[in-house]
């Protein structure tokens, strides 16, 4: 353990924060009072770093469904679905997800992280090649590692760079797996999915799209970038999470692949994890119904995102992407980002501090996630807190 360089570098990074006097990665929300409000360090605080895009965590339908399931089916399943059996609700949620995406089957996982781990590692194996975007989430990198496949990165959102790398692979490109995200969580930028689909069709490869940050947010029915870009039929696997717009925990993969039954049993993160508790499944099913018919929620979310985006721009901040539910303020210098994050928290605003190497390039970010449940007054207060920082420090 003494030679564990990874632990040593994390310890050094943590020590840097301790010396700075703030630890953005150990925030305790002492009381959660609504989807967008809580008490932190004794102060009422606007929560804008929670990924609670549709604000459904306190929705009466979801809370009532969870309570009912809790009372009728108990607190947990106490085991994996393969060893201990599925509850009827697990399969019902899978059928509902498959119908929602117009695919033939779905697999529910216990977390979104495991959904990527389980999907990638069961589709690809030793001898295969997986192509991933250079800015992929850790769950995609880890899923690739678990698969044992050869992993090749292409430049972020660069479908021509992907095509060049597929071409280098020759005939084997037809067996390759490509993994992209609909929306990238750090900057909130979208993948050019139409172009990625064109490239995967050109080479006969298969494509996974992770819609963690776009489910419920984009597309007429909230089916994400695959719906917005009109490529739902052509994407082979869609992976997503219940922990953002659905306000819960868990993850899924949907597909019309003939292999879905086999993939389920080949997936170690599915087989060797306890299944989701009935209350979680019930609340997720209620949230999925609200999401499906939630064009009003998406409209509110978009209006809030536009208000925040425009407000921050008016103060001269550089933002990471066009209007989306993730609004990332590019700060650059890490110590400035730390000071700013601390100032905002003391001003009653909680956002996410993101520093390299978790961020693309070498820049630090203050990342806001907008919710349909934010009021206009909360969005204005957010903007003003950023603006006050700027006026005090310019």
């Amino acid at each position: 353990m003494k030679s564990n360089q990874r632990l040593a570098s994390i310890e050094a990074a943590h020590q840097e924060l301790v010396e700075f006097g703030v630890d953005p990665f150990a925030v305790e929300i002492e009381e959660i009072v609504s989807p967008t409000g809580g008490i932190i360090q004794g102060r009422p605080t606007i929560l804008a770093g929670t990924n609670n895009y549709l604000g459904l965590t306190f929705h009466p339908d979801c809370v009532a469904a969870a309570k009912k399931a809790l009372e009728e089916q108990g607190t947990g399943t106490t085991g994996s679905r393969m060893a201990n059996g599925s509850y009827a609700c697990h399969r019902e949620l899978e059928r509902e997800l498959a119908a929602f995406y117009e695919k033939s089957d779905a697999i529910v996982f216990s977390t979104g992280y495991q959904a990527n781990l389980g999907t990638i590692s069961s589709i690809a194996g030793p001898g295969d090649t997986v192509f991933i975007d250079a800015d992929s989430h850790a769950s995609i990198y880890d899923g690739c590692q678990l698969s044992g496949a050869s992993v090749i990165r292409f430049r972020h959102n660069d479908y021509e760079d992907l095509a060049k790398r597929l071409r280098r692979l020759g005939e084997a490109a037809a067996d390759a797996l490509i993994v992209v995200e609909g929306v990238y969580s750090m900057l909130g930028d979208r993948a050019p999915l139409k172009e990625f689909v064109r490239v995967k069709n050109e080479f006969g490869a298969r494509l996974i799209v992770d819609e963690a940050h776009s489910l419920g947010v984009l597309g007429e029915r909230g089916r994400g970038v695959v719906e917005e870009a009109d490529v739902l039929d052509e994407v082979d696997f869609i992976v997503g999470t219940f922990s953002k717009s659905l306000g819960n925990t868990g993850g899924f993969c949907v597909s019309s692949s003939d292999n879905m039954a086999v993939l389920r049993y080949a997936s170690r993160p599915y087989v060797f994890t306890a299944s989701l508790p009935p209350a979680t499944i019930a609340a997720t099913r209620a949230a999925l119904k609200l999401l499906d018919k939630g064009s009003d929620l998406r409209k509110r979310l978009h209006n809030n995102a536009t208000r925040l985006h425009d407000g921050l721009k008016s103060f001269g901040f550089t933002l990471g992407a066009p209007v989306n539910a993730v609004v990332a303020v590019v700060i650059g210098d890490k110590s400035e980002a730390l000071s700013m994050w601390d100032y905002l928290l003391k001003a009653g605003v909680y956002v996410n501090l993101m520093v390299p190497p978790a961020t693309p390039g070498s820049e630090s970010l203050l990342r806001c996630s907008v919710s349909a449940a934010h009021s206009a007054a909360q969005i204005d207060a957010l903007c003003n807190a950023f603006g006050e920082w700027r006026s005090r420090n310019s």
């Binding site: 090649t129 250079a134 990198y141 690739c144 590692q145 050869s150 992993v151 090749i152 990165r153 430049r155 790398r165 280098r168 692979l169 390299p356 190497p357 390039g361 070498s362």
Partner: protein, 84 residues
């Protein structure tokens, strides 16, 4: 292109990345993350440049065994000859 040409190209790509780190000389034995203190992003960007320069794709998995400039040159040489 022989082994030494590959080493020369790697050093050409590395030099601007470490210009502020007080590194006197980069040789075949120089360690990428140890002596040059490259972080994961810098390693990734360096690889993308080298991939373009040599028209190859270096698998992420291959990097686990690469410690020095010479190791990287060996890996590139193998990929260019079609053996990975």
């Amino acid at each position: 292109m022989n082994h030494q040409d590959i080493v020369t190209e790697i050093i050409k790509v590395l030099t601007p990345l470490v210009k502020d780190k007080g590194v006197e000389q980069i040789t075949e034995d120089t360690e990428l993350t140890g002596e040059l203190a490259l972080d994961s992003m810098q390693v990734m960007n360096m690889l993308l440049e080298l991939e373009d320069a040599f028209d190859i794709s270096i698998p992420v998995n291959a990097m686990a065994d690469i410690k020095t400039v010479g190791d990287l040159a060996n890996q590139i040489e193998q990929l260019m000859s079609g053996h990975s």
